[in-house]
């Protein structure tokens, strides 16, 4: 028998880590509320049954305003799972239980799970499980995704719930509301859950309003009062249950208060963040440098053993090893960057940054929440374009999607590293830091421009939960690093591999000995006039041409044109211009495809290409002029 199980809960209750524990799948858990935007599934077999889990986006209520909330609500409403597991944070269960009450109103087969019970115990919070079960009328399990406590029991309960089909009693809202609900129930067709919709209608929900078919209903001041009254009723009930079933020994939040006081300090907060970011980049760079050198050395030796005397050996050594190898050499740097970012995200530090930065983002008509989404872009622009789905406001979502390509993704790291190694070997970390700052500035400017020119609208709300600090768990960080970094390796094996061979063929034919006469030189020289003002040679132009597919190809192309990366020559001014230009000149194919699928219109794709090309061109020209004036 296949049992479908839906996991519902507030953002950041450890729903995803519970999911991982149950299914054994490797899916990343973040501290940022709302990372799980798409539907994530996994299956496991238990006692002759197949448990099919669906991890739903974290929500506070089933009154949907953002895409996340719509996904969760529509799933529960339209395709109810056999068993619904509501995950509640044990340390502060109130908001989770509110959601539980809403889910119960749908008349589903529900199990309540109090997660992070180990943390709660440490903080002196204790639950009486049997009392909770009696008062809620549904099975209650205390679990910890961290220690594995209660996981087996949960699986057992899912199976027994599937067989017994528990249905909880509904919460009684008192005579006045109940009679209103009764009078409204006949407004809805038989196919809907009448009580749920009647209540949602009183709460002023848009979906419920649209589903009325048999009567007239108008919202006025008094129904608004009733909406508040319903919520109050729920919280009163929750408090009465918790006062009996939960013992607290001390205020569980004070510890964060003191540490937060320093990390989100009025004056120190931002400098600390910038310093840590600098250390993270430096770490990426300096610590991994010997490893990068080692890999480059090994690939060089490998290419040497093959030689390049015949067509086949030249294809292998110049095309594949030199092309793909030059990109793969930077894997340690990329993994090191994600190690640093992963620690920041796992520990719960990043939401604090969103909080600190919100004022700044507000002036760009964005929120701290989109700041977080954009930070994902440092990994890969595609992931930040996709993650923008979690943003509730449509205008903010489109803005975030359109500015995402300006965030320096990991594909650009090898390109910068190559250029920096050639032209700025004395000031490596500083140049690296500077280009990232420039990337952030460019993103900010673009956000302003997009909001001025393309979209106009109101400001976006910023209601965000600040999660508890957690000591980062090594396994979680490694999963994070692997999930972000594997994309790079996949690309190296597929698209970069193919384009490297294409570039090799274009360099090899018609005359393998003289690159000046090759096909690629013809392409480069024909396009050179566009980049004349920037001072790029035909090699650079040809590399940029192919780099439009994926940025890493710039490195492999350079390696092929010059024989190997060590032989590349660039003047510092040209190098600075080139770096500025590469920062944004055109989003890679994958990002463009993601923009197309997320916005659903090619209008934004065309805008993105034209806008990014022109702004990078202007900026690069500016850098070039300044450079010439200074030197």
């Amino acid at each position: 028998m296949v049992i479908t199980v839906g996991l519902v809960g507030n953002p950041n209750v450890g729903k995803t880590s519970l999911f991982n524990k149950l299914v054994g799948a490797r899916q990343y858990v973040a501290n940022w509320p709302g990372v799980t935007v798409s539907r994530i599934e996994g299956a496991t077999s238990y006692k002759d049954h197949t448990l099919h889990f669906i991890d739903l986006p974290g929500v506070y209520t089933l009154s949907a305003t953002s895409i996340d909330e719509k996904i969760t609500r529509d799933f529960l409403l339209l395709t109810p799972p056999n068993v619904t597991v509501v995950v509640i944070d044990s340390v502060s269960p109130e908001q989770g239980m509110y959601l539980l009450l809403e889910v119960l109103e749908l008349g589903l087969n529900v199990i309540a799970v109090f997660n992070a019970i180990d943390e709660a115990k440490k903080k002196g919070v204790h639950f009486d499980k049997n009392l909770l079960q009696d008062s809620l009328g549904i099975p209650v399990i205390l679990t910890s995704a961290h220690s594995g406590e209660g996981i087996i029991e949960l699986k057992d309960t899912i199976v027994s719930a599937f067989k017994n089909n528990y249905r909880a009693k509904f919460l009684d809202y008192g005579y006045e509301i109940e009679s209103l609900v009764k009078s409204l129930e006949h407004c809805f067709g038989e196919e809907y859950n009448k009580r749920f919709f009647a209540l949602k209608l009183l709460e002023g929900d848009e979906l419920a309003k649209s589903k009325i078919s048999y009567c007239e209903f108008k919202l006025d001041e008094s129904t608004e009062e009733i909406g508040v009254e319903i919520a109050k009723c729920r919280y009163e009930y929750i408090n009465s249950v918790l006062s009996v079933c939960m013992q607290k020994s001390s205020a569980p939040i004070t510890d964060i208060e003191a540490i937060d006081h320093v990390l989100t300090h009025k004056y120190l907060g931002v400098p600390i963040f910038l310093s840590l970011l600098y250390l993270a980049f430096n770490f990426t760079f300096k610590v991994s440098e010997p490893l990068v050198n080692l890999l480059e050395f090994l690939f060089g030796k490998l290419a040497e053993t093959f030689g390049n005397s015949t067509l086949i050996t030249s294809l292998i050594s110049d095309g594949v090893i030199n092309g793909v190898g030059s990109v793969i050499s930077f894997v340690p740097s990329i993994f090191a960057l994600f190690l640093a970012l992963g620690i920041m995200e796992e520990s719960g530090y990043l939401p604090r940054i969103a909080f600190l930065m919100d004022r700044l983002m507000y002036s760009l008509r964005l929120t701290g929440r989109s700041f977080m989404t954009l930070l994902l872009g440092f990994g890969c622009n595609v992931s930040s374009v996709m993650a923008a789905r979690g943003l509730s406001d449509e205008r903010e979502r489109i803005t975030t999607i359109l500015v995402s390509p300006f965030i320096s993704c990991n594909a650009r790291i090898p390109v910068y590293l190559m250029i920096i190694n050639v032209a700025f070997s004395q000031r490596k970390a500083e140049t690296f830091f500077f280009i990232y700052i420039l990337s952030i500035i460019l993103t900010a400017i673009s956000s302003r421009v997009v909001n001025r020119v393309v979209l106009k609208g109101e400001n976006v709300p910023f209601i965000m939960e600040i999660p508890r600090y957690r000591f980062p768990k090594l396994s979680n960080i490694l999963t994070y690093v692997w999930n972000r970094g594997k994309h790079f390796l996949q690309k190296a094996g597929t698209i970069i591999f193919f384009v490297s061979i294409v570039v090799w063929a274009l360099t090899y034919f018609p005359n393998p000995d003289n690159i000046e006469n090759s096909l690629i030189a013809i392409i480069g020289k024909n396009l050179e006039f566009i980049f004349k003002p920037l001072g790029f040679t035909w090699q650079t132009v040809a590399a940029l041409f192919f780099g439009g597919v994926a940025k890493e190809i710039i490195v492999s192309s350079f390696a092929q044109f010059y024989g190997s990366i060590e032989k590349v020559v660039l003047h510092p001014i040209t190098a600075a211009t080139l770096m500025t230009f590469i920062l944004g000149y055109i989003p890679c194919f994958a990002t463009l495809a993601a923009i197309k699928s997320e916005t659903g219109s090619s209008k934004y794709v065309i805008f993105s290409v034209i806008y990014s090309f022109s702004i990078s061109y202007v900026l690069a020209l500016f850098v070039n002029l300044i450079g010439r004036l200074v030197i």
């Binding site: 939040i253 919100d358 004022r359 965000m464």
Partner: protein, 158 residues
């Protein structure tokens, strides 16, 4: 009073929520009439701020906190700018060394009895002062009890 106007460090009780699109979300995180909220801290430039609702920390912008009407719970120290005229005891001074020194010269130290006038002028044992809004907001006071008032009257009569 709106939630966005309440100073950091105070505890308030929600009275009413005004109509807004974000209302369902505010209700779901627990911002409801009758619920106690503590204002934990503000980001640089005073916006957004972190509020504690049922042991959870929630960050709200001032523009969002504006739709929440609250009452300050009376028996707690409040900034002197937020209290009605009358006699008060200074409970704490949340300021740096310099401000503390200047305030102490006006007779405003922790434990001192002061009187706040209609025009926000302050009468202390050292005289009457107008110390300005910014500095005054850093002085937390609580209402003086009967016996404290009478003792100070005795001192004044001497």
């Amino acid at each position: 009073m709106r939630l966005s106007e309440v100073p950091v460090g105070t505890v308030v009780e929600v009275r009413k929520l005004y109509r807004s699109d974000i209302l369902p979300k505010l209700r779901a995180v627990g911002i409801l009439p009758g619920v106690k909220i503590e204002i934990i801290k503000a980001a640089p430039m005073g916006d957004p701020r972190i509020y504690k609702v049922f042991d959870k920390l929630i960050s709200l912008r001032n523009s969002e906190a504006e739709i929440v009407e609250v009452d300050i719970i009376q028996d707690q120290p409040l900034p002197a700018t937020f209290v009605k005229p009358g006699k008060y005891v200074v409970v704490k001074i949340q300021a740096g060394k310099m401000s503390r020194y200047l305030l102490s010269r006006c007779g405003i130290i922790e434990g001192a009895l002061i009187e706040i006038k209609e025009d926000k002028k302050i009468v202390t044992s050292a005289g009457t002062f107008d110390i300005g809004f910014g500095r005054l907001s850093k002085v937390f006071v609580s209402p003086a009890k009967k016996e404290q008032i009478s003792i100070s009257n005795c001192i004044q009569s001497f």
